[in-house]
Amino acid sequence: MSVGLVIVSHSARIAEGVVELAAQMAPTVTIVAAGGTDDGGIGTSFDRVQAALGEADSGDGVVVLCDLGSAVLTTETAIDFAAEPERIRIADAPIVEGAVAAAVAAEAGGSMDEVVAAAEPVAPEP
């Protein structure tokens, strides 16, 4: 088991693309996309985020990457409604670059704190 990731974007395509990109370097990590509104528009969906948070938690907790501010607001609201909010953390990191770094850390068996830390000051990149 490892920390799971949830990718909350205003765009379903961004969220799904981040999942495919991050999964490349972290094939065993559960990474769940929660992008777009319920009707497929641009925005965020509380229900999608809530479902993704449940799906991504395989026992070691969940780290969430968000794009813009409203994605953070929606995620925080979902955390307020979560049964075990202490098992969820939002990384203060850019969604794509942070997700790749977080996925690598989760693949290596990092804890929630380690995964958040890996995402936050994005790892040095070429």
Partner: protein
């Protein structure tokens, strides 16, 4: 009427839904100038969903029960920042209302205060950041200063919210999408402050 009961609360929400539908394009136009041009659609989607779910609610539901239904519906249907923000506001307001059958002036102030505090806790905006907080905060203060008459408190809140919304125009935004614009946000009214003003005006006019 002495206080604001569940039926009043429902009539108020129906009036908000009607006003949002009527002014949808106007709210979206404000959001087009300094945001992503969806605030009217977002709120209209949310309040139309509220109307649908209100029908299933008991006729004698308390104010708190109505507010809670509005909260959960907005949270799951609005799709923009206004969803978690107004959703949290109505949720905290419903918790403040508790299971009281009616709200008097003091109860109304408790509900409005809880709603505003919920928005601030969620969005971390301060007064002057050019957000809906700039309409809520003067509204709460004015209602609190209005004395024992619940209708006077509603009228004071609505008037103060309208002024607060107008006062966002000269500001630079520090929260939300308008913060991307820097000085270019000056001269434009914050859409969320205007929708707050709309809601509180509808409350003052609901009998």
């Amino acid at each position: 009427m002495s206080g604001l009961d569940g039926r009043w609360t429902r009539r108020w929400i129906e009036a908000v839904a009607a006003e949002v539908a009527r002014r949808k394009l106007e709210l979206t136009a404000l959001d087009r100038a300094i945001g992503d041009a969806d605030h009217g659609e977002n709120l209209d989607r949310g309040f139309q969903a509220v109307l649908g779910r209100l029908e299933a609610l008991d006729d004698d539901a308390t104010p708190g029960a109505v507010l809670k239904l509005v909260a959960t519906t907005l949270i799951s249907t609005v799709g923009g920042a206004a969803g978690p923000l107004y959703g949290t506001a109505f949720l905290k307001g419903s918790m403040a209302a508790g299971d009281r059958a009616e709200l008097d002036a003091a109860g109304l102030v408790e509900v409005l205060t809880a709603a505003r505090d919920g928005i601030v806790a969620r969005g971390k905006a301060e007064p002057g950041d050019k957000t809906m907080v700039d309409a809520w905060t003067p509204a709460v203060d004015a209602a609190a200063a209005a004395g024992d008459d619940v209708r006077a408190a509603l009228e004071a809140a609505a008037a103060a919210a309208a002024e607060g919304a107008a006062a966002t125009e000269p500001l630079v935004a520090h929260k939300g999408r308008a913060s991307y614009l820097g000085e270019r946000a000056i001269g434009h009214r914050d859409p969320g402050s205007e929708s707050t003003s709309l809601m509180l005006r509808a409350a003052a006019e609901t009998r």
